[in-house]
Amino acid sequence: MPTTATRPGRNRRSVTAVDDDARLLERLRAGDEAAFVALVALHHDAMLRLASNFVSSRAVAEEVVQDTWLGVLRGIDRFEGRSSLRTWLLAILVNRARTTGVREARSVAVGDATPAVDRTRFNAAGAWASPPEQWVEDAEERLGAAALAAHIHAALEQMPPRQRAVVTLRDVDGLGSEEVCAVLSLSQANQRVLLHRGRSQLRRALESVLAAS
């Protein structure tokens, strides 16, 4: 699980990270245990978080992650490098978690979405009646980075599993939209719907704590 500490900059995986995967994979194929553990360390938290969206307890999520790595070890010779190692890993994980899990909502209910912003904040013509207050410039000064991170974390916890999976993969783990669609078997359109709801919900959460500060 992500902690509430912060780091500078985004968590976009750099070219180096992909190179790391490739180098570690080579060493792993040669039977290097340290390379395996390093590879696990690179991906473990994202995998555990993703698995948690499908199963009911952390213990089961950990089992799914272990099981996935065992599957990876057994199938390592079949990995052809057509997708990135991470996409391959996470797709195996989701398959296993789906077989194990019961928590996942089956479909994306597009109709009954909560609006991004409460309807009462617009007038009859659809213009802002109660416009957003400004906090972009000084959010961190007002609350502190750690508190902001804790609020984001709490808001993520409240999301429906698939929405949380999409937002976390995109915005915490830094996957691209195509990678997320491949991992979660989503269409681009549904991925965007879930991302939109999730990000809008996070913004509302930040707005409410910053308004109270």
Partner: protein
């Protein structure tokens, strides 16, 4: 001559903002979206807040693997190698 489409309103902007950031709006939608933003400081603020939300979410730090977990995965690897060696 083309009829100009009606302008979009703030309440629509907040629902289109993710598609805008994802580059998923059609050219016409994108033009109307940007034209609205140019004349609406509230929606510009809203867009800035969405960008800031994404930036702050991107700063959550993944947990490191604990030494105990490292040991467990090392063991998993050794067990797998033993199994692999036993199977001809």
């Amino acid at each position: 001559m083309l009829l100009s489409r009606p302008q979009i309103v703030c309440q629509e902007v907040v629902e289109l903002v993710s598609d805008y950031l994802e580059g998923a709006l059609s050219r016409g939608q994108r033009r109307r979206f940007e034209r609205h933003l140019a004349g609406c400081p509230h929606c510009s603020e809203y867009l800035a807040q969405m960008r800031e939300t994404i930036r702050l979410t991107g700063r959550l730090v993944p947990d490191d693997l604990s030494p105990q977990m490292r040991e467990e995965f090392g063991e998993l690897f050794r067990r797998w190698r033993e199994d692999a060696d036993e199977t001809p």
